[in-house]
């Protein structure tokens, strides 16, 4: 991770002076580097030896593309802060944030110029992320089920981690594992947001307001009363809907445990050394347990 951090810093040094401050603001603070970690773990699960240049380059570019998705999400959600500080569009304005996103994508592809298979995977990722965001927005405020949540989350966060897994192992054998890890990550995030809503009075308000199908929402709206508020926010107050979500947290946690089990089975079935992948599952599962 130190090597990756240095690499990102070197990359920013070589970028345009005009955008450097915004890039430093976005990249040099607070990232968990969970996606690069997934790439490294998938590599370690299938091969021995030091991390090769191609894998390190993939890790850099996945971090670039992930940050593009964050910048766009923040603009769409009108989020003023992320990781406890101002979002890029709040700090530098929407125009700068959008143009910087385009610059980062172009740089990402340039970085991958010697890795055709990697380019194909990043192209798949960008296409799927775009489709997932549109699908999620189109399906908001509808009485859908857990299977629908699974489909949306699988295309959103799931596609990101699927591609991470493919970049790491380069055989496609860990693709399903990556998808399950992404699904778990997405679900833990959903549950964590509702917990934040309950305990800290913050987090997840945007999803609640917009009627986005989260895992607790998919479980809660099985109750017709909750479904009525979810589909038509004017008919009841959002705090009441939040209480329906909180009531479904144990069921949501149990469902996440099931996904974690599926991930472990997948790791043990297809990895030469499943230990790094099982560790990823455990680490992700903790995200909803604060």
């Amino acid at each position: 991770m130190i090597r990756l951090r240095e690499r990102i810093a070197r990359w920013i040094d070589g970028c345009s002076d005009e955008l450097r401050e915004a890039l430093e603001w976005q990249f040099l603070t607070g990232s968990k580097y969970f996606r690069p970690l997934t790439i490294f773990s998938c590599y370690r699960a299938t091969r021995e030896g030091p991390i090769p240049e191609q894998i390190m380059q993939s890790a850099l570019v996945i971090e670039l593309f992930h940050n593009v998705s964050l910048i766009i999400d923040d603009i769409v959600d009108r989020s003023p802060t992320r990781r406890g500080r101002a979002t890029m569009h709040t700090k530098f304005g929407e125009l700068s944030a959008l143009m910087t996103s385009g610059y980062i994508v172009a740089e990402g592809y340039l970085q991958m110029k010697d890795d055709l298979a990697g380019i194909a995977l990043f192209s798949e990722l960008m296409k799927r992320l775009g489709v997932a965001e549109c699908m999620q927005w189109r399906l908001r405020r509808q009485p859908l089920g857990v299977e629908d949540w699974r489909k949306i989350a699988g295309e959103d966060t799931g596609s990101m981690f699927e591609v991470c897994a493919c970049l790491g192992d380069r055989s496609g054998r860990l693709r399903t594992f990556g998808g399950l890890l992404g699904l778990l990550y997405h679900g833990c995030d959903d549950v964590g947001d509702v917990k934040g809503l309950a305990a800290l009075g913050g987090g997840g308000e945007e999803d609640l307001r917009d009627g986005i199908l989260t895992l607790p929402a998919a479980l809660a709206i099985r109750d017709p009363a909750a479904a009525k508020i979810f589909c038509d926010p004017e008919s009841g107050n959002l705090a009441e809907l939040g209480r329906y979500f909180v009531a479904k947290l144990p069921e949501a946690e149990a469902y996440l445990d099931k996904i974690a089990d599926e991930g472990r089975t997948e790791a043990r079935s297809f990895a030469v050394d499943p230990a790094p992948l099982v560790a990823l599952i455990e680490q992700t599962r903790q995200l909803s347990r604060y």
């Binding site: 009485p143 299977e147 629908d148 699974r150 109750d223």
Partner: protein, 214 residues
Amino acid sequence: MLNAEDIFGFGSGRSGHDPVTGFLLAMRDAWMTGTGLKESGSGQSMPRGNPETGLPAATLLRPMISALGAMADLAAANRQGFGQPGAGPAAHPSPGARHDPSAADFLLPIGQAMMIAANRSVSYWLGLAQIFESHQATLVQAIGVKAIDGHMTGSERLVTADALRALLREVGDLAIREALLFQNELSALDESLVQTFEQPEPSGSYRRRWRAKL
């Protein structure tokens, strides 16, 4: 319980086999045992062969079991041919087989491939049984009185539909996982075959014997 020995008429009194013959016979027996278990132990929840024809699983697996028996016979005949030239029908194998001591090298991988297929089949059926077991309540609800009478409320219908979709997804996921595992195991076998039959490097530098089209 179905006795496959009776059905297929194979004797079990062979002893003192060479490793290849023994291996193939053991595999054949494993298949027959598995067939019998499936017939007797799975009850009504497991499909018993082709539902349209009503054939038992044992009948459907007959070609596989027959092939294993035939391979075992071939392996035994080969051994006999080497040991006792001129004695019995096995003393007249094809010229290639008579002078090729690596015949067993071919039979073993075929046997291993069949064993892999058998394991994967069993694993798939077990997985399927587990999935159906875990969704039993949903299935009962889906075909229950309320559903038939059309007395389900809107939310009940949504929940049942969601659960049925989960069942379908899990069955599909299982099929894909087992197919990928099957493919991986066959690839590993393929790799070991390549290494077993790898020709020694020709002496001297490699020279192309053809011209590239311009």
